[in-house]
């Protein structure tokens, strides 16, 4: 893909947005930069915003690694793209908000023996609401991002969110918690493009970040070392027993915080055969281990659910994704009430992990999701 006509750009953006003021959340990466240029070419009154979410000095780790958010290079990329394509760009300091709502949550979840998903919380608590709070007074009518997701709204305001056409890039998993009121004024220009198209467009438009490397790690844990991050935050490590499936004591571990279900290494004990963390009990710090087969379960309960569409009491023939890199599996949603639900999979799933999000789809349409609370 060498170029996109203004007509094609308008089709990606949605005709109704042409001529209107749109805030584009720009990370400095190739996706949001291409999204911004598409909006500009579609005739939107584009303003680029980069959210400064955290300081390297505050979160530790190695700032020399490329392709990450909130580095000088990423901020510079945003300014260069905006300058070259003729739209204003501002940096918003949201470090306080991010520290409180995302990093605070992240640390607390690990302390509870759960595995957090900070990207989802960042989207729903910081990116959309905090950005909207800042850009609405400037006359912006919508927020656009470089997420790979397809969004359209019915005339009655019902939002329909579909998986992106590029199956490797689909990011709907990270969007289930964004409230409907924000999605109604959101634009995802990249949902029908493939990543290769986006890179080709970036090259054709001479964007400085056409070849920036990908990263799927947690942005504020720059070195990928969660133990180090938790220690830097003064988070205590609670030692406890390591037991097998029958409760037999096998040894002790140095701290359950930062362990995750399905993890094989890091307990400091040699077992002679592959053993995995199957359960963490934060009350007394006990970590249960077992064989790969012990990781499989068919049922889990979710809490804090958010549904984009009105839901019946139960719904079969859905597929559910229990982590970003999990292939959605056939399931039935039961006992839907009070933002909770029970998910029953057709076949057992490996390492259903409390704290992670379970996200339900009907075909390619995102129904919503919730936080995995317990596994049966």
């Amino acid at each position: 893909m060498n170029d996109l006509t203004p007509q094609k750009c308008r089709a990606l953006v949605g005709d109704q947005w042409a001529g209107r003021r749109v805030a584009v959340a720009m990370s400095g990466g190739v996706d949001s930069s291409v999204a911004a240029v598409i909006l500009k070419r579609a005739g939107c009154d584009v303003i680029g915003f980069t959210m400064k979410l955290w300081n390297y000095a505050d979160v530790g780790g190695d700032s020399a690694r490329d392709g990450r958010c909130c580095t000088i290079e990423m901020f510079n990329n945003c300014r260069m793209v905006a300058g070259a394509h003729g739209f204003p760009h501002y940096t918003l300091d949201l470090t306080g908000r991010f520290e409180q709502d995302v990093i605070g949550y992240f640390v607390e979840e690990y302390r509870q023996g759960r595995t957090p998903n900070p990207c989802i919380v960042c989207n729903s608590r910081v990116k959309w609401p905090a950005l909207w709070e800042r850009v609405a007074p400037l006359g912006c009518e919508a927020i656009a991002t470089g997420h790979y997701a397809i969004l359209d709204s019915d005339v009655d305001g019902t939002v329909r969110l579909h998986r992106a056409v590029d199956p490797d890039r689909d990011q709907t998993y990270f969007l289930w918690q964004v409230p409907n009121e924000f999605l109604r004024r959101t634009i995802f220009p990249l949902g029908t493009l493939h990543k290769s198209d986006v890179r080709a467009l970036a090259a054709a438009w001479n964007l400085p970040n056409a070849v920036t490397p990908e990263s799927r790690d947690i942005c504020f844990v720059a070195d990928g070392n969660i133990n180090r991050f938790m220690a830097d935050r003064g988070c205590p490590t609670t030692p406890g027993l390591v037991v097998d499936q029958s409760g037999r004591e096998l040894g002790r571990h140095a701290g359950f915080e930062s362990l995750t279900i399905g993890q094989r290494k890091g307990l400091g004990i040699a077992f002679g055969r592959p053993q995995y963390v199957t359960r963490i009990d934060p009350k007394d710090g006990t970590v249960v281990i077992g064989d790969d087969a012990d990781l499989y379960h068919s049922k889990c309960r979710i809490r804090d659910a958010n549904w984009l569409v009105p839901m019946p009491e139960s719904l079969s023939d859905v597929s559910v994704k229990i982590r970003y890199l999990h292939e959605a599996a056939p399931a039935t949603l039961l006992s839907l009430a009070n933002n909770t639900a029970v998910i029953e999979f057709e076949s057992p799933q490996r390492a259903i992990t409390p704290g992670q999000s379970a996200v339900a789809y009907q075909g390619d349409r995102l129904l919503g999701g919730g936080i995995i609370d317990s596994v049966e």
Binding site: K52, P88, Y90, T91, E133, P137, L138
Partner: protein
């Protein structure tokens, strides 16, 4: 929203665009002065003449001698050299320095660094208008005080300090006195003998000269330790091959200011008109500083119930360039240390904007900007609940 016909720049305290006549002088210097002015050959001498002439002009325009002028890489470097060069001077008799809470970070960060390196620092408070108490100033001076640094004009609120009085007190006790005059030159008289200072810093880009050129005046007899080490340039006080075009541009920029004495009253007229209109058109604001004793071009304002960053962006989208408090490198929104030191009410701290007028300001700008501010402030106040602001 209306698309502006013209971008209005109202941020002259952040920087000024280089005057075309300055660019001309710099181009001429680049064309002729291509050799190293320290070289003894004919081309070196040709470059040297341009540098010497520029230095002589800079010196004359502030009442100094050429040997008292040190060219640096900017105003911040000049401030660093004055403070650290004094504390580390071979002639230093004490390890104590005194400065004021509303100084530029170039001064405050220098004394903080000195403090971490074993020096003793007193940072004086200011009153609500940004003035230092004379009694407190006198009490802060000690037998081991080596240097006092007080800015001539504050960059955020415009308050002028009584430098000649303060410097006289220091001089009586044998204490070196430095003033950061970066925001003052071209706006209020800057003459080293009249001020009675031992050291004085300038930055060319604040008066339509080039960025990256600073001037430190150091009175004859003041022996500073260098901060930038290397060759013996600037009489051993600042190493590095001289920026000849920068020096020529700085001299030209200074003489352009001196040659047009009507310009300051003209800018003051626009500024005063703006201040009056703002006070009349927008309710619940505070105009900072001491209007009777201020830079002629600066209006620092706090708007209650408005986020300063949002107002800055809203004005920018209408083609009006202003800054929140002072323009800092990251654009991050921290409360200004100047306004905090002045004890400004929290209601106004989150919504501060600095308007600063200059050579390109037109008489009608006062009304255009005031109208736009009034409109945006009313709109923003209507949109955001007052409680949502820090």
């Amino acid at each position: 929203m209306v698309t502006p016909m013209r971008t209005i720049y109202c941020d002259y305290n952040s920087t000024t665009a280089t005057d075309p006549r300055v660019i001309e002088a710099m181009n001429a210097a680049l064309a002729v002065g291509g050799a190293n002015p320290s070289s003894a050959h004919s081309l070196g001498r040709r470059a040297r003449v341009i540098l010497d002439e520029a230095r002589q002009n800079i010196a004359s325009l502030i009442g100094a001698k050429a040997s008292e002028i040190i060219l640096t890489g900017g105003g911040s470097e000049a401030d660093n050299l004055a403070i650290l060069g004094s504390l580390y001077s071979a002639d230093a008799h004490g390890k104590h320095c005194v400065t004021v809470a509303t100084e530029h970070h170039a001064v405050l960060a220098s004394v903080e660094w000195a403090k971490r390196n074993g020096f003793d620092v007193t940072v004086l408070p200011v009153d609500g208008q940004g003035h230092v108490d004379m009694g407190r100033f006198q009490d802060s001076l000690r037998p081991d005080t080596q240097i006092v640094s007080v800015m001539l004009a504050n960059n955020e609120v415009g308050t002028l300090h009584p430098i000649s009085e303060l410097a006289a007190i220091a001089r009586d006790r044998g204490i070196w006195f430095h003033t950061d005059a970066v925001q003052a030159y071209g706006k209020v008289p800057v003459h080293v003998a009249q001020l009675g200072v031992d050291m004085l810093s300038l930055a060319a880009h604040k008066f339509y000269g080039p960025k990256g050129v600073g001037v430190l005046y150091a009175r004859g007899g003041i022996r500073l330790a260098p901060v930038v080490h290397g060759g013996g340039q600037e009489l051993g006080r600042r190493a590095g091959t001289e920026n000849i075009a920068g020096a020529a541009g700085t001299a030209r920029a200074m003489s352009l200011c001196a040659d047009d004495p009507g310009e300051v009253p003209r800018i003051k007229g626009v500024t005063d008109d703006f201040r009056r209109r703002l006070a009349a058109q927008v309710g619940d604001i505070q105009i900072f500083g001491d209007p009777r004793n201020s830079l002629p071009n600066t209006v620092g304002v706090g708007f209650a119930g408005v986020d300063g960053g949002t107002l800055m962006m809203a004005l920018d989208l209408r083609g009006i360039c202003v800054s929140t408090g002072s323009a800092c490198a990251t654009g991050a929104s921290h409360p200004s240390h100047v306004l905090e030191a002045m004890g400004i009410d929290r209601r106004y701290l989150g919504g501060t904007i600095r308007f600063s007028f200059g050579r390109g300001s037109l008489p009608e700008d006062a009304a255009v900007i005031a109208d736009a501010v009034a409109e945006e402030v009313v709109r923003l106040r209507a949109m955001t609940p007052a409680a949502a602001h820090h």
